[in-house]
Point group: C2
Chain length 353, copies 2
């Protein structure tokens, strides 16, 4: 299996190194061969190549079986004109590879629940998966431009029916592998795009009779995620709604430093990245938490390589390390032991052997 | 002062009756004359007139000094075609009256903080005002339509520069009357409209040197509202972002049944409504909480009539009632006393005399 590594910016470099070590342990243990090809993206790519997404990065990713991304962005590049912003690299690679389905599983770890801003009785037991449409909608629609000498502006929320169909199918399929409940999020009382979205969900649901479906308005979901997060299983929604709701949901369990994500297309090719950002303030200090990246490796093993046993082994190793009380500086575990990026990675690797 | 009452649907009827009683007490106490004109909106208007926004309602509101709205919507009208949906009445009257500035103050009441889903140490002391643009952006932009025989769809997020300028001015002015901190929310790393939004805020801020300004991305704000709500004072944002974030924020303090809102235009004409909905399940039972409606009356006195003393009197009366332990069925106060809509209204009126 050929994997492209995109460390990107900030702590991206350090956590990608951790991913590589975990994959080395997996290949020893389960007899696989992974080859790696490191490429530039984000601010690092701007510095080296003058663009956040060099064409050789795109070419390498197109030939890969999967891509691992660290993080992009940082204050150094914040003032650059829009086409040179590190985020453009991320948006660009998603679009170039056609990664329309962003999966974000959010599940608490018992040892970390105390760090949740929510009361324990509210958040305990929450285990949800946000399925966000990633290559259409408001973040990609055209026109997106100034008009009237810059005195007005438009962005466009556009969808083709097939784009909605494929993400809704992905969400139904995901729900089948879980608790079989799907919440479709829209603003169908106002937006025409949401009405089409709701129609597609209604059409599709006959093909998944074992999955229960509800439609909830986006503003109501923003409330319910906080007041009753355990009511959700799989949530599916448009790109921008998904951006907001998945970040909202990511802080519920107190485990932001633990959350992985997968961005997939139909054939299983995918890009895997931690939900946390590039954390420029702690970059290079050896203290970054590698576990979200390592959990992203597990998602890659599962979704792109169909290596379910290997994926579970990685996830169990992470759980075991936490259970033994080890944590990085972003987390706190009572009577636990503080470790750095490398030590944490070694602890996971040990438990894989 | 001529006030149009729009009870609307569900518990709207009951809470509007409470508003009238409170205004009667205020006029006795402070020697004012309020005249009332009751009109139909929402599902009730669909049933009586075949449209959620009859033209006579629009005419009456245009002549009024202020409008009080109960709530619109309910399962009875959920299956109607889109132009007959109760919500269209609400969107329509906002647009007809040009109510571009939606103000939503969110502040906890000590007696109710225990009902917050957040830990007390996180939520305690939060006191924020969300200023949402209400007549532009994604919820009103054209085109908003199906294309290609229904196989694709677009909505449009459109703003004229002056629309952004006036809401940003309103937000700066509001911040001046509070803790002088403004958080402008956008997605300037992706949306062209957000870039214009950010430019306008940067231009305007020189006119308000006493107010500190920060720009935060919408996804980050969705997180920070939960992890650290006390960091915010005034938040200003586009219509749809504001819809999602203000509902998210409304559940933080455990006081959803207490939250008022004001929708204003430049000359001070405004529409005032509770943030909670029409609650069809408890409608007609005499148990609805009238306090959010009564707090909306206070906002009307302040923003449309410049009656600051009277507004304060209403707010103090509400606080005093809670302090004495009275609560409706949606709230809980330890060792408190459960009362219905009328009794709660009387308790507030007593404290006004
Ligand atoms: C960096 C940005 C463009 C990106 C997005 O909004 O898609 C990020 O917020 C995310 O959620 O992955
Ligand atoms: C009913 C609906 C159209 C409305 C809106 O989104 O503006 C409501 O959610 C609100 O926030 O007042």
């Amino acid at each position: 299996k050929n994997i492209v590594l995109l460390p990107g910016d900030g702590i991206g470099q350090e956590v990608i190194a951790a991913a590589k070590e975990v994959l080395a342990a997996i290949s020893d243990q389960f007899n696989h061969t992974f080859t790696f090809d490191k490429q530039d993206i984000g601010g690092t790519a701007v510095d080296k190549h003058g663009t956040p997404l060099p064409s050789q990065t795109v070419e390498a990713c197109k030939k890969a079986d999967a891509v691992l991304l660290g993080a992009v962005g940082g204050p150094k590049w914040d003032q650059l004109p829009s086409h040179l912003r590190p985020e453009k690299g991320l948006l660009g690679i998603r679009k170039e590879l056609g990664l329309f389905a962003n999966l974000r599983p959010i599940k608490g770890f018992d040892q970390l629940l105390h760090a949740s801003p929510l009361k324990e009785e509210i958040v305990k037991g929450s285990d949800l998966l946000i399925v966000r449409e990633l290559t259409g909608g408001l973040y990609f629609g055209k026109p997106s431009e100034r008009r009237n000498n810059g005195n007005s502006v438009v962005d466009t929320l556009a969808y083709d029916r097939y784009e909605i169909e494929r993400i809704v199918d992905k969400a139904f399929q995901s729900a089948r592998l879980r608790r079989k409940h799907l919440t479709s999020v829209d603003k169908a009382n106002v937006l025409e795009s949401s009405k089409l979205w709701r129609e597609v969900v209604e059409e599709k649901k006959t093909a998944y009779p074992d999955v229960t479906v509800e439609h909830v308005l986006v503003d109501a979901v923003a409330m319910k995620l906080i007041t009753n997060p355990t009511q959700f299983d799989v949530i599916v929604t448009e790109n921008m709604f998904g951006d907001i709701l998945s970040d909202e949901a990511s802080v519920l369990t107190g485990s932001l430093g633990m959350l992985p994500s997968a961005s997939l297309r139909e054939d299983g090719i995918g890009l895997y990245e931690p939900v946390h950002g590039s954390a420029p303030d702690i970059a290079g200090k050896g203290i970054a938490n590698p576990l979200a990246m390592i959990m992203s490796v597990a998602l890659m093993l599962r979704h792109s390589f169909q290596l379910e046993e290997e994926a579970n082994a990685v996830e169990e190793a992470v759980k075991a390390v936490l259970k033994d009380g080890y944590h990085t500086a972003d987390l706190k575990i009572e009577n636990g032991q503080l470790v750095g990026t490398k030590e944490m990675t070694n602890l996971v690797v040990e438990r894989l052997s």
